[in-house]
């Protein structure tokens, strides 16, 4: 099996309010034998927010990140649905407008960088399914999450707009989370909110709407028997986990549902200790979920 090695863009949130994502990603990558070379001088993608006032600035910064990965001769891996969406959007724009790309490259040339279209940019979810392979993952599972019911929560930007997110080449990308949940032995909870918006982007603009969105999805999944949700997006995690008590207040739904980062779920199945995966660093307690995972780790 070919060695897997990526230029790794950790994103802002894993370096900020979701350090458990950064830690668990590195642990799981190591356990899977995926080598990550962190891009420690790459900047925020703009998350669609800088784009509201200055799309050109965001284009240049993202092109710079792509060029940094190309300088290493490696594909780019991110751990955030929003990063994925923005990076794919910028990549699409730069590919379709060579004259614009030329101007962007003229700026990057100051530090000896150049972006050439064709870089593979993949969220950890896509890496897992397309590059690593779920059959290989299944063989490495030491603690199957059998009996645990998990709802997928994708995050908008890893799904939409589908034309720029590789729908042609990889038509099953909107089913990967379900596939991964099954691969680690858990049961998929099929609920409508899985592909909707967590509400996080408008938390400061319209708090009530934002919390209603997040609270409704959690409530729906919990009502259908979910023990946890899993997401490849730390921004979704911030609303679903950290804002869950506030969402409970606003929606009056009786909710209490642990939210896992995707690498945490994989790590549990690989037999990594829950504390090492920092499952104790969530706002919503993961204790009940851990109690359910009583199966001893196979040697």
């Amino acid at each position: 099996m070919a060695e897997l090695k990526y230029a790794f863009w950790p994103g802002c949130v894993s370096k900020g309010a979701a350090p458990e994502l950064y830690v668990s990603t590195n642990l799981v990558a190591k356990a899977l034998g995926i080598e990550l070379v962190e891009l420690d001088t790459a900047t925020c993608t703009g998350a669609g927010v800088i784009q509201e006032q200055n799309p050109e600035m965001a284009d240049a910064l993202n092109a710079r990140t792509f060029a940094l990965a190309q300088q290493l001769g490696l594909p780019l891996m991110n751990i955030c649905s929003t990063c994925q969406g923005i990076e794919s959007m910028v990549q699409d724009k730069l590919t379709k407008r060579p004259d614009y790309l030329e101007k962007v490259n003229a700026i990057l040339a100051d530090e000896g960088l150049k972006y050439t279209p064709g870089l593979a940019i993949k969220n950890f979810l896509w890496v897992l399914v397309e590059d690593f392979g779920l059959d290989r993952l299944k063989k490495m599972v030491k603690r199957p999450l059998s009996g645990v019911r998990v709802g997928p929560f994708y995050g908008c930007y890893i799904l939409r707009p589908s034309q720029i997110l590789g729908k042609e080449e990889f038509p099953e990308r909107d089913t990967y989370l379900e596939q991964v949940i099954e691969a680690v032995g858990a049961t998929v909870v099929d609920y409508e909110g899985a592909k909707k918006c967590c509400g996080f982007p408008i938390l400061t603009v319209n708090r009530e709407n934002s919390l209603k969105q997040t609270g409704n999805h959690i409530h729906e999944a919990q009502d259908l028997g979910a023990d946890a949700l899993v997401s490849p997006c730390p921004l979704c995690h911030l609303n679903l986990d950290a804002q869950q008590p506030a969402a409970k207040q606003v929606t009056k739904h009786d909710i209490e549902l642990p939210i896992l980062h995707l690498p945490q779920m994989i790590g549990l199945a690989l037999g990594i200790d829950s504390k090492e995966l920092r499952l104790n660093h969530h706002v919503v307690s993961t204790k009940k979920l851990m109690d359910k995972l009583t199966a001893p780790v196979a040697r």
Partner: protein
């Protein structure tokens, strides 16, 4: 080809379950053809709305397997992938009341459309000849002008699901169509109104409308253009503008997002009642070890958190201003 349909039924008394149908049809069959065949030969009580059958009139929007589509433009085989056992779930649009079966009451849609004054309101002296508009401007407007008012975006809008006051994608895309047209004389007032509660800043940017729009209007992208215009016009004083300002400042200052300062920076530093609402959450995050202390100093202040190599990043940011396309010039 066998086509299996599971159609949601509803009458004046509300939903009454699903009816299943199975028909034989040509491989080229559209969902609309299939439904008409059902209505003509299987079940005359099935109600649906349609007219042109060519994706022009916008009458036949409905949800197929949970997603809004124009039935006349949806090839069955494209959705099922040729799997004859794939039963298509057909439902009326979301977010709007149902009159019968697949027919929605569109009043909410029209009410929102009317609320943005969806027509040009010129100001000043009329030109002697025609109004002249630069080509680039009209090209840019073609996306928004493609709207056939089918309601697909309104059906699947994730904000409208929790807040019926939201102006929603279709009307906001139409608003862009008039605001960005140089023949309109009220752009500034329009942008001011659109910047209020329930307007352009309430969109979550979830891309659902971009995904379901059958005509390439990409309403969310039009909303983003309106946001950019509002900022250019200096229309601020709302959380949306403050949010993008503090966000951009944070990246320009440190390369990565300063999350701690996003909330006070967006809702307003002195908005005490609003900030108090965030306190319990912040304390819970603190207890969980999720507050990044290195971000305690606000972006731009001495000692704020910075990525390494910021001089190179700032160089890119400064020079990116040269990438902006020049504004089209109106011919006199």
């Amino acid at each position: 080809m066998k086509v299996k349909l599971k159609v949601k039924r509803a009458g004046p008394d509300g939903p009454s379950g699903y009816s299943s149908y199975e028909i034989d049809a040509a491989e080229s069959v559209t969902l609309l053809d299939a439904l008409i065949q059902v209505r003509e030969y299987e079940d005359g009580t099935l109600a649906l709305r349609c007219s042109c059958r060519s994706a022009i009139c916008g009458s036949c929007s409905m949800r197929v397997d949970g997603r809004a589509r124009l039935a006349c433009r949806a090839k069955v085989i494209a959705i099922t992938g040729g799997d004859e056992n794939h039963e298509l779930t057909v439902e009326p649009m979301g977010n709007m009341p149902v009159i019968k079966d697949l027919i929605n009451d569109m009043e909410l849609f029209w009410q929102k459309m009317r609320s943005v004054d969806p027509y040009l309101k010129p100001e000043g002296v009329e030109p002697e000849g025609e109004y002249r508009v630069p080509n680039e401007t009209m090209l840019d407007l073609t996306h928004a002008m493609n709207c056939i008012m089918c309601g697909a975006c309104v059906s699947d809008c994730t904000v409208l699901e929790v807040d019926k006051n939201f102006t929603a994608p279709a009307a906001l895309a139409k608003a862009y169509r008039v605001v960005a047209d140089p023949r309109d004389g009220h752009s500034h007032e329009r942008l001011q109104k659109l910047s209020e509660y329930s307007g352009i800043w309430d969109c979550t940017r979830c891309n659902m409308c971009v995904e379901v729009c059958p005509k390439g209007v990409a309403p969310m992208n039009r909303i983003l253009q309106l946001r950019e215009m509002a900022i250019e016009e200096g229309i601020g004083g709302n959380s949306g503008v403050r949010h993008t300002n503090i966000f951009t400042k944070s990246i320009t200052d440190g390369g990565r997002l300063n999350e701690i300062w996003m909330v006070p920076g967006s809702v307003g530093m002195f908005n005490v009642p609003r900030l108090m609402k965030e306190m319990p959450g912040a304390l819970k995050m603190l207890r969980a070890g999720k507050l990044p202390f290195e971000q305690l100093i606000p972006p731009g202040a001495p000692g704020s958190a910075k990525m390494k190599g910021m001089d190179r990043v700032r160089n890119v940011i400064r020079k990116s201003a040269s990438l902006k396309a020049p504004k089209p010039v109106v011919e006199e």
